[in-house]
Amino acid sequence: MARIFAYIVHRNGIVDDTAGELAAVARRIGPTTSPTAILTGWGADLEAACNSLRAFFGDIWKIANEALAYPNAELVRQALVSILPSNSILLVPHDHFGIDLSPGLSVKLGSAFVSDVLSIDGLERDSLRLVRQEFGGQVSTHVRCDISSGAVINVRPGAFRPEQVTPISSGVIDKSSAVGTLTARRRFFETIVAEAGDVDITKHSVLVSIGRGIQEKDNVALAEELAEALGAAVSCSRPVVDAKWMEKSRQVGSSGKTVKPKVYLACGISGAFQHLAGIKGNPFLIAINKNPKAPIFQVADVGIVDDVLEFLPELTSKARELRGVAAK
């Protein structure tokens, strides 16, 4: 069968959690195959990352190149095209780098591309059956991918349990010399770190978090009043920031903050995986949403089908009663 490779994301010498997850995916596709890890980068960080992977992968291919010190997808693509054997399966984490790299890479390799995969159903000859989601996670779908000319498969971070095995190790293989001169028409300048906001939502044990269901800017006050009554802070999901109703510093999710509260009230939040990725520490999750099909109810501990614009004021007045604070 086709050889399976996993592209390993690493930073400061430490491999991303997705490394072990991709090892698990590879074994779901081909239980008897030994997947190969590919790492690109430069210097001591790259060496450290390669060495830390021996528990997950037998073969580790290293591409050391100064131009790859920062993972610019355009350059990584050139490097991968020059070293991947034809008809390979390449697994990539579906994060901001995988979104940047994989679709174009699949074109250059002449192979199929499947995005944001959640589960592997199995392989029958050249047909790989996978599970994805559509419509913001409201429904799932089985997808068949023809891998006869190879495939690039982007895997949702966190969807697979990392797998540690005792591989037959041939160790780190240096493939750097197989990569020619890398030229970029897109050049990385710098990383601009997010500005700190007025409230640090990562420090609060109770979060009242609002989503698209809050409907308009004026209604944000409903959440602020509730938060005040509960001794909580207000956070939000992406659409609220996109609409400029709250500052970016209040956003929970993979492109926002990672929070670890004890209680998380998801108010009018559908529950896209990018949002859930920012909720850690297994908080008690209470979801209020008027759509009974909202994916948030699949992960919440307690769910209420209701309009947050009606429910939040009710909750606020009862919370004020409980705390002995007179309603204004």
């Binding site: 409201q138 307690v302 705390r323």
Partner: protein
């Protein structure tokens, strides 16, 4: 600057509960509310703002059927100079690669400096822009959340983890996938749409674009959706079915038990 924006008409997930139909294989498509894909609308707004700063034209294009004309007309009402519908029976059931191939042939008939797509649509694949860039051999950047025009190039920032941004310089011509929130798309009312009701929207097919029919459509698709399904849940939320008042009491009890309300 000549700017092309690729858009798509999709069921609006903020307006619809997506459910399976009677066959259990497809979603219920009766009574779905459709609109322009959210990220695509941001891409159109960004194109219009760039045009208004540096001059040029904005063309919007979609691959679909006659129902999709409504989103093109909406984008014309926003201020796009030209709209094109690409439609052909040969294109039905194309996978992402097929759609990108069709768009590539369309782009090569024109003379565009900048091509924008929304970062992702209802299928969450986030693939068309990257594929199109590779097919055209143009540089590409995804998840773009700011654009500054310079001589022969752009400065773009990309959304990365933790609310951070990655600043890049990219040569023109290029393809960018636009993230939501990059701007504030202007409002389009019914009146605006009526004003562009008579603007002709040309329809182009496979032969107009020189699309090789064996590279698109169902036969060329390497990736195929078999069905839709709702996974059986082992442990979903415990749903509260009381009155609003009872539910509020219960929520407060749960919050207090876990250290809130202090």
């Amino acid at each position: 600057m000549e700017i092309l924006v690729c858009v798509r008409r999709v069921p609006d997930t903020s307006e619809n509960e997506i459910e399976l139909d009677a066959t259990g294989k497809d979603i219920e498509r009766e009574e779905l509310v459709y609109s322009v894909n959210e990220a695509d609308n941001y891409a159109v707004e960004e194109a219009l703002q760039i045009r208004d700063r540096v001059g040029g034209n904005v063309t919007v294009v979609t691959v679909g059927g006659e129902d999709d004309e409504e989103v093109l007309r909406r984008e014309l009402a926003m201020g796009a100079n030209r709209a094109v519908l690409i439609s052909d029976d040969a294109f039905i059931a194309s996978d992402g690669r097929g759609v990108a191939t069709i768009l590539k042939d369309f782009v090569q008939k024109g003379n565009y400096d900048l091509i924008l797509c929304g970062v992702q649509a209802d299928d969450g694949a986030a693939q068309i822009g990257g594929m199109l860039g590779a097919m055209l051999d143009y540089p590409f950047a995804s998840l773009v959340n700011s654009i500054t025009v310079e001589e022969g190039k752009l400065k773009v920032s990309r959304e990365i983890e933790g609310g951070n941004r990655e600043l890049n310089e990219i040569d023109l011509p290029c393809v960018l996938s636009i993230q939501t929130g990059i701007n504030e798309p202007r409002y389009v009312g019914m009146r605006g749409i009526r004003q562009v009701a008579s603007v002709p929207i040309p329809t182009l097919g496979a032969s107009d674009l020189g699309v090789q029919k064996d590279s698109v459509g169902e036969a060329a698709a390497k990736v195929r959706r078999e069905d839709y399904f709702v996974p059986a849940l082992s442990n979903g939320a415990e749903m509260l079915h009381g009155s609003r008042e009872e539910n509020a009491d219960k929520v407060l009890e749960l919050v207090a038990a876990r250290g809130g309300l202090k």
